[in-house]
């Protein structure tokens, strides 16, 4: 979205300030104990996944009969599991990949744009019943999306949209809104009021304040939320199945990976490989968006 790139006004100076400061403040909290604690958490968190990774490289019989740690005593690597995952099905995996990407992109962009707008509306404009409405939206987070599947599908069937990507995009966008508005509203409120006031004095309207002040300052929050929305949509099975259906024309990667598990989820060796194939894209997204998190310095330096 082009709106996200708007960066005129005050932002450029802030970027400069921020970069010098971040390099300045590199040394703190580096006691050996702290490093050790971090290391322990990191290892604990990684071991289970590492076990899965090793399992994805082991032959089926060994996966069923012995623990993954015996790999070190008896290293036996096979790429058969990956071969089956990548080339095994009746449809090429690439098709599912394309579907996943087609489903995910609009399902991330649309709710983020709408939620950012709404968050601004609730945080910085006034209108009747504003706070009541906001609490209501906040409370909507708890509505389990399963409750909404049937009513939404009825509407889509009535509108003749059934079985297209449109329904999936709209469904994902709707389900994402309450949490997105809640998270982004919070970040919006953190922006110093003086900044907004100053812009208003200069004669800027809400649209201008939103595009020139809020969007640049909110990049880290938006990036963080985008990562999570991406993950939820990428890993979603239920919404895609209900609205798009499970045919290879529209089905995402998760449908294929779920099939890999066998009718009763017992083909661990294939599941391990499948899980790693589908994890790659989210990981790349996370790593590439990570640089935006550092810009969080912007908001702070203004406040201070």
């Amino acid at each position: 979205m082009t709106v996200l790139d708007a960066r005129d006004g005050i932002a450029p100076d802030l970027v400069a300030v921020a970069t010098t400061r971040s390099s300045e403040a590199r040394k703190r909290l580096t006691s050996p104990w702290a490093s050790l604690a971090a290391l322990v958490i990191a290892v604990l968190w990684t071991i289970p996944t590492f076990g899965l990774f090793l399992s994805s490289l082991r032959p089926e019989r060994q996966v069923q009969r012995t623990g993954w740690w015996t790999f070190f005593a008896n290293p036996h690597v096979t790429f058969e599991n990956y071969g089956e995952v990548l080339f095994g099905g009746s449809q090429p995996l690439a098709g599912y990949f394309v579907n996943s990407i087609l489903i995910t992109l609009p399902s991330v962009v649309i709710p983020i744009v709408l939620a950012t707008l709404a968050a601004y509306g609730f945080a910085w404009t006034t209108f009747p019943f504003r706070d009541t409405l906001f609490v209501a939206i906040f409370a909507l987070q708890i509505v389990p999306l399963q409750v909404a599947l049937l009513p939404l599908l009825e509407i889509f069937v009535g509108a003749g949209l059934n079985g297209t990507f449109w329904t999936v995009w709209m469904a994902h966008s709707t389900f994402a809104l309450p949490l997105a508005i809640f998270l982004l509203h919070n970040s919006m409120r953190d922006i110093p009021a003086e900044l907004v006031e100053a812009a208003r004095v200069d004669g800027a309207g809400h649209v201008r304040i939103f595009t020139t002040i809020m969007l640049p300052l909110l990049k880290p929050a938006i990036a963080a939320y985008a990562v999570f929305q991406f993950l939820w949509v990428w890993n979603d099975l239920l919404v895609a199945l209900v609205f798009a259906g499970g045919t290879s024309d529209v089905a995402p990667l998760t449908v294929r990976v779920a099939e890999l598990a066998g009718t009763r989820n017992s083909d661990w060796h294939l599941l391990s490989a499948g899980a790693f194939v589908s994890i790659l894209v989210p990981l790349v997204v996370f790593l590439s968006l990570q640089r935006y998190f550092v810009r969080g310095l912007l908001a702070g330096s203004v406040k201070g």
Partner: protein, 462 residues
Amino acid sequence: MPAVPSRRRSRTTGLVSGALGLCLVLAGCGGSNVAGGGGSQAGRGPECAAYTQYGDLSGKTISVYTSIVTPEDQPHIDSYKPFEQCTGAKVVYEGSKEFEAQLPVRVQAGSPPDLAYVPQPGLLSTLVRQTGAVKPAPAAVAANVDQYYPETFKSAGSVDGTLYAAPLGSNVKSFVWYSPKAFQAKGYTVPTTWDEMMALSDRIVAAGGKPWCAGINSGEATGWPLTDWLEDVMLRENGPQVYDQWVSHAIPFNSAPVSAALDRVGSVLKNPAYVNGGLGDASSIATTTFQDAGLPILDETCYLHRQANFYAANWPDGTDISENGDVYAFELPPINPAAPQTILVGAEFVAAFSDRPEVQAFQAYLSSPEWANEKAKAGTALGQSGWVSANTGLDPANLASPIDRLTARILQDQSNTFRFDGSDLMPAAVGSATFWRGMTDWITGKSTSDSLNFIEASWPGQ
């Protein structure tokens, strides 16, 4: 429990299927000799004779929604090819493991598939009564069911006296898996009565082994293999009449006959000397997946495993499943040797949500012997076993696997008394919920009376 479970084995499915389709069409159509109508149509060969009754369906599309996913879906898709080639219709197949939750949503939202393979009669009657969207079976299907299926299957596909769905695949649940090779080596013989089976168990214990292995873990359906156990023993302990009363709740779930049957199951599965070979103590039955539960037979850490014919699909590649092979199965023997043998069966059913002519034609095809044979041949060609139809027009010779042939023979044996899986017939609140949970609690230590009281209390409408 219904669904046809399996583990994926064949890696080549996708590659072979294309080439296979053609030869199946030729072989299938050519071998068919059931004349349906007058003469072959223009442009179609004589192998289509049996399909002329369905008319010209060119340009028509039929959607099928099922819970059957790869690799078991391939023989289904292959088996439609003769129909597609001869009538010109196109069948769109969609399989999903979320089928049971998805189907009601789609039906209620107004976008049902044309046909759905419903794995339990309980779900069928829920769909009929709650949505009213299921179409009664057309005359051609009713005629096929009357001609080719035992009465048990017909009544399981009917709701309130109206036939809605013909059976598709069927299975025999009253099987005990064992290893013929191990039996030969140790000098054991296949028991023909319950007492002989217990004597054999004691003999295995005396030789230092554990006779039985079992596992009931199946995700949210955990517990279903134990409901099959109880149903099988109910039939043998109390006879089919009491069984029917129990299933229809004419006698309470916690009445004396049920309690006696469950105690008999307990004499095997809760006996620490008998279970759980290679898997742990009796409570490990609750955490062992049903797919893995029989595998210790191959290692001879256990010798007996009661599970349906579809367990054939769970043995690893290269396992010899035959009378003298690595594994095979015998009928769970009767308790009273004088009583006729009763067989516990299950099936999935073809429910229609549309009465368009092409849908009814395809429905009729699926209930015909031609289809049952096509499906058998398609499965054989892919080297799959564990699938059988109860259609008496099925020629067992089309089934490659000895266990499938045995299953088909049992289903076609008129001297057998059949009873449908009771948990599939009970209200869903019991048959797909508290019955499973009650059995799971029972195997992890709850008493027989407490477990049965819990299930009885959950029976709706009291």
